[in-house]
Each structure stands twice: as C-alpha cells, then as structure tokens.
Symmetry: C2
Subunit: 262 residues, 2 copies
C-alpha cells in the first residue's frame, strides 16, 4: 500500500473516478476538499468556492511505479502536487553518475523549470497519483489566488532550507551520520503524517526506494549504504524486517548518531 493513502480512501475516490475530469467541475468542491493531499499542498489555504475554482484547472493522474513523469530539459508544461506515492527528483551527469535531490510525497510540489525546461528528472518510485496543473493555468491562478501565492512561497522557503540541510549532509557528514539522518527524516515524516505521539522512541515504517536510490540521495555507493545499515543493525539501533521495512528501536540514539542539530 502506497505511503500517504489513508485507509478510508480507495484509489478510485482519489482519481475522482475518471482520469481526465474537466467535466467534474460541479463536484469539485467536495472533490478537492476531500483530497488526501489537500492539507499539505499548494491549495491548503483555500476552501469552499475558491478551492473549487482553483481546482478546476487541475487533473488527477496516475503514474505507475518506475514510470517517468518528466525528464530534465523536457519542455516544462505542467506543475504537480503529489497526492499519494513517492516521486524522486534527480540529476545526471553524462557518465551516469546521479544525484537525487529529493523524494517528494503527499502534498509536495514538483515541476520547477528555468527557461521553460525542467531542471530534473521526476520518476515514480511506487505507484503515484499527482494533481497536475498546466503551468500557464497555475501562473494565472497565482494572480487570482493570493493565498496560493503565499503558500507557494512558504513551500519554496521550506525547500531551500531542506536543500541547505542536505548540502551540509553531503559535504560534511560521515556515512553513518548520513544514513542516521535519512532514517530520522523518514521516521519523523512518518510520525507526523500518521499522527503518532511525538515522544515515542520506536517507529516502524516502509522505505519505498531502493538501496541505489538511497545511495544516490546521500552521495554514497550501494555497498556503503548496505554496510552502514548492517552496522546500525548490529548495534541494535534498527531492525530490518525486509530490506525495505525498518524499525527504529531508539530514536533518541539515532538523533545522536545523526548529528542532526534539530
């Protein structure tokens, strides 16, 4: 089951029952308002009529695991909000070296461009649903909905700060610190999104991405990632039910290992 889909929702209800729903405007109010990503997304500050009007330009779309949403240097036509599932953003060098710049999930936005071209590859890690806006339409909306503009600003600011954190990690942290940080971020996101108590010291969650993805996110090789997981396992800090299902046994100690500053 994909991250971010709460148990009440079927995929069908998220898609509004149709792939292209321009004809669904009259039901938009309840449609967008009931979207599982709404409260984290671009549109989180809108409701009622305004939300319906804003949402009228959007379309939900399903992307299968492994599929490409867009590629770097493609002509940028759309802007996206992730509804469910997880998308990886990455850049590549000619020789195949890759850096993942972020994993985007429920409520996160996607689709930045310069000079009309996307600046990263965007691929679905697992089955993904996105809410798609035409770029032209979004820019028009931004003029009319200042609440969206404000929200976008907030989200961009948060993005910059995240990226700066990640730079510190990439430039100056050891493999153990990197993995600990990574797991900590995932754990905290999981706690937040699932409304668990803030002060728990154990969490269990699923990692949708492969070891290759983790390596390319943290600036390591798969071997080092794997060895570091093993180290953490042997020290009793984590358990691996499968390679993608982690249990953090001591969040506090993980924070120490992560050197995370927060």
């Amino acid at each position: 089951m994909a991250i971010g889909i709460t148990s009440e929702e079927t995929l069908d209800s998220q898609l509004g029952g149709c792939r292209f729903n321009q004809d669904a405007n009259k039901s938009k109010v309840s449609y967008c308002a009931s979207c599982s990503a709404h409260k984290y997304a671009l549109c989180s500050k809108l409701d009622g009529e305004a939300l319906a009007a804003f949402g009228a330009n959007s379309t939900h779309r399903k992307i299968d695991a492994g599929q490409t949403l867009y590629s770097e240097y493609d002509e940028a036509t759309s802007f996206y909000t992730v509804v469910s599932g997880e998308v990886r953003l990455s850049r590549m060098l000619d020789d195949g070296r890759r850096q993942i710049t972020g994993f985007k999930s429920q409520g996160d936005f996607l689709g930045l461009s310069t000079k009309g071209l996307y600046t990263a590859d965007a691929e679905a890690i697992d089955d993904v649903v996105v809410c798609q806006f035409s770029l032209a339409g979004l820019n028009k909306s931004l003029e009319n909905f200042s609440a969206v503009q404000v929200r976008l600003m907030e989200m961009m600011q948060a993005e910059v700060i995240d990226l700066q954190d990640q730079m510190l990690l990439l430039g100056r942290k050891t493999p153990i610190e990197k993995i600990a940080n990574f797991l900590l971020d995932r754990a905290e996101r999981h706690i937040e999104r699932n409304g668990l108590a803030e002060d728990v010291n154990e969490v269990e969650f699923h990692l949708p991405m492969s070891r290759v993805d983790i390596a390319d996110f943290l600036g390591l090789t798969i071997e080092t990632v794997s060895r570091t997981f093993t180290k953490l396992k042997k020290s009793g800090l984590i358990e691996l039910k499968t390679s993608q299902d982690v249990k953090i046994c001591d969040l506090d100690e993980l924070r120490v290992q992560a050197n995370s500053d927060e």
Copy 2:
C-alpha cells in the same frame, strides 16, 4: 575594491550619506533607482513612485570584512539585499565541521528563517553593503507590491535550482570537477556582471574568499583545494597572480573539466 561597486560610485553615495536614512524619503526615488544592486534585486521590477515607496522601508548598512550579519538560530528580524561585497552563508556542526551553502553578492537576497529563527550564519567576506528591510515591513510590502512578490518567487526558484546543482556537485563530483565548476561559476558571473563578450575564452578575476571558504563550500579540505589549484595551474588551464587572483586561460576546456551540463 569590492566586487560589484562600479567605478562611478563611491561608498558614500551607496550609503546615501547616512547610516539610517528614514529622513531621506523625499530623495528616495533617485536614491533607490541609482542603487547599483537595483537591477538584480528584489526591487528590480519597481520604478518611480512604487520603488520609492518600497524603498522607504529599507536602510543601507555597511558591514566590515569578517563581521557577522546574523547567526543561525538568532531571532530573525530583517531581510537583506546585498548591494556590494560578498556574504557567505554557512551551517555548522557542533564539532566545527562547516558547510557553506552559498556566496551572496550584488542583488542576491539573504535572511531566510523558519519559526522566526535564521537558518544559517551570514558573514561578510569583504567589506559589504546591504539593504536591510524589517521582516514585518517586507511582508507588508509583499502584500502591496505584487511585482516584488513575483520577483521574490523568481529568485527563490533560481535559488532552489542552484542548490540542486550544488548537491550534484557535492554528492557526485571529483575534486577537479568541483574546483573547475566553482571557477567557472565565478568566471561566468564576472563576465555577466562586467558586461564582457559572451564568447571570450579568457577571464581574469578576484576571489574574495579564502581557501578554507572554498573547501567548506565544495566539501573538501584546504589541502585538496590547494593541490587541485596547482594541478590546474600545471596543466596550463589557469594562472594565479596571487592566491586570490585567478586567470582562466581556457574557459572551454574548463567547462569540459567541470562536467557542468550547461
């Protein structure tokens, strides 16, 4: 001579002749319009009356080389535009490891915060002049001047894309690629800011920052930085008049070395 001050301008004229110039409103039109940072800055889309009104909330301030503008976790009260000189933004770990997240110069903004606290240290590399806004005032201005909001959006977007580039560099590039990239960025900025021909293959410019700063920006040690400079020098790609004054002898070849993708 500080980067970004064109030859006609004295520091005095940039400061408007006074440190706190609330009383200078009537002369604001010409004051802001003649600011050397205007065309790159937050206010670049404003002119005439609007520019004067927007600028009324701002104050130019001089910061000496080496001085701190603000520190991480300080209460965020102001937002800044760099008028001249150069500021480094950095984060630190407890044990002193440091990552510089960016060098900010003419027209760039500064002062992002979360939960009311600055997210980085900001220090003057050389003598710096900034244009300072109270955060409250700026937020109010953003409501009234949509052109500023649009411009801020553009600048934030460019910032995100820059940071993603830097992540690819930190995570996946070799020391030579890192230094070549760094020099290339500097060279291109120099060419742009000084209006040189686009197709030159040689440039000469000043690096205001120390080897330590370069190392902390690129995720290297000073020794590796130094050795890499020497390598580039021996291969005839660059010349060093002093350790801070570089001449790029073959920009095209430097682009090859940088693996820069652009």
